[in-house]
Amino acid sequence: MSSVREEGKDQIIFVTKEDHATPSSAELIEEDPSDPYEQQGLILPSGEINWNCPCLGGMASGPCGTEFKDAFSCFHYSKEEVKGSDCLEQFRAMQECMQRYPELYPQEDEKVPQEQLSETEQTTQETLDTNSTSNIELDSNTTQPNTDSSVES
């Protein structure tokens, strides 16, 4: 059983697991996925890429930002059977650029960009709130365990 206590203006409730076993009766307002005010995920409702998505980290804004945008755009709009197979030129340019900045783009990520990008597309299309489920390690969150925050690294 839950216990309730009052300490002045503050109310304190202790609950057991059983107390919270029944579903909540609290009502939440339905979300509008195309709300312009909301922080968007990787893909906007219009189908375009949101370059400002926290999940991309600094990829679109760094020295190789232009190359990255070209490559990812090409990949995103690619209609080939093997998605992105017509974008090799852009990916090569991107890798070339990244190699010039080993500090920013660690070398082990060399082969990964194309795979990572396809992963990103899949996962972010599945989830509504991309903040908590990004699995790109491009620019990981900093201090708190909750990846939800919009922390930039």
């Binding site: 609950v15 609290a26 307002i29 804004s61 365990p145």
Partner: protein, 649 residues
Amino acid sequence: MLKCRTVWKKLAPLARDSSTLCRQDVRRAGLNNGSAVRVPAAHMSSGSAGGGGENKLYVLLVGAACLGGGIYAYRTVKGDQQRYMERMAEISSRPHKAASQKTAVPAQSEPPAAAATETGTVPEPKPGAAPSPEEPSPAAPGAEAAAPSETTEPPPVDSTPASTKVPSHAPYLLIGGGTASFAAARSIRARDPGARVLIITNEPDLPYMRPPLSKELWFSDDPSVTETLRFKQWNGKERSIYFQPQSFYIQPEELNSAENGGVAVLTGKKVIHMDVRGNKVKLDDDTEILYDKCLIATGGVPRNLQAIERAGEKVTKRTTLFRKIEDFKSLDKVSRNAKSITIIGGGFLGSELACALGRRSADFDLEVIQMFPEKGNMGKVLPEYLSNWTTEKVKKEGVKIISEALVKSVTYKDDKLEIQLKDGRLVKTDHIVAAVGLEPNVDLAKSAGLEVDSDFGGFRVNAELQARSNIWVAGDAACFYDIRLGRRRVEHHDHAVVSGRLAGENMTGASKPYWHQSMFWSDLGPDVGYEAIGIVDSSLPTVGVFAKATAKDTPKAATEKSGTGIRSESETEDTAVSPVASSTPAPAVEQQRDNYGKGVIFYLRDKVVVGIILWNVFNRMPIARKIIKDGEEHADLNEVAKLFNIHED
């Protein structure tokens, strides 16, 4: 012209007469020897008056007048030209004197180009010397005289390298080099391809994040942490506090020439004046920079106690106002040498530093004291019962807490600082850390004509973070309108990120208001780790829903959950054994009741939830954010608490 003609007409007969007279004189003179008879006839035909002598005088006078006039005219014209040349030379040398390094350096590095600008053929964008190019252009000969004198004049050595780095125009100008500024830079670059962003900061460092300065950096095992400034994240990976390494940025002098633009950081420079009409700012070295869009993200300066400020140099020298990297470095050094450190302030920063230093106290034989006016740690944030509980936990970190302490005066005596409290208590210590709040930096408000908020401080901006056309403000310095929660000013890291990003979006054409609510967090020892969102003010009525402690809910579990480095394994074994049992002889039920292991606390304003704390409960922030966004009146908050599933991991 007509005047000239009339004058000429009048003078013409006179001239004719005088010339005839001259000729006649000559003839007369010449013919005096010859026949004098023929002369009168010639003389008569000219028809002019006067006898011979008078004519002579007349002629002489006119001639003299003409000559005098001619000489005067010649001298005046020549003198004017001379003066003009001198003036031109003086003007073109003036910008040289005022900012001699700027004109001299390009003059030195590109002598032909400099000469060309002097002659006014090519309007070159000389760094900072905007007014001068126009003036030398008309005075070609004069300027050429001036140019060689400029090139030979030796420029002051120290300012030469700085001047070359400053572009005269930056499409996106960000004043301040902290978290908000960096977030805005990133946002601008993501949305505007090829954007050229210039960040100006008066710190010597590139943009970095502050939270680790009072948390993770203190728990690092690396002895060179004060140099590397690297820490371990929750996922085990190490990173630097700098958002990006040097290679991410481009040099300021490359800003306008880089093909795809970039972000340039100008360190060690302060913007002292802002001309909104002219769309330009002036730095402390008199450089002017034009901008298209400007962000003010000047953050703030730590407040100090009056008692310390008027206590004299001996006291202020032993006081740290903690905010920057250099403060971290100096406090680290102090903590290794001093015997006693007192932290004044019981809020986030004060409590975090107290815990960090408290943890060191055992290793370094250091006494750590924390004093504040409230009854317990985080007294302004947590409801009283939780604040008291937290204070006990902080004490376990090795901190001596002096609560309800108001500082009356501080003096330096016998190589110690003596803090006299208003209730008579005296505290002796070696060093003081003052964590008593932040004063937002609104120095530019006056020159820019920007409004300052009298309630919260900071620049007053609208819901879209805009102060005036082309000027936005983000971060600690922004007092903004929050559509849901009302006007406020937030001094947290995540807010700086969210507001910086939003400002960047709006600077690149979006018109989005502040909507995604930022969060904040704090860790105080192995048992206290929380995340919060919205207005979390202890003066509001609260409803706290806590999980009844079971054997499974050990602090060690919380350690793994939060994953932060400060929860060391050894300490948790210790505290798990004897939480409250030793202090209260109450039955087991009571013990559990007072153990606020994990839960959710709702802060209410007019029955609407405006703030939520997730107490030792993680990965639930989206739900909290949703509840605040909805802004609904919930009849039973226990039902709302169910949404958080606090009993699960």
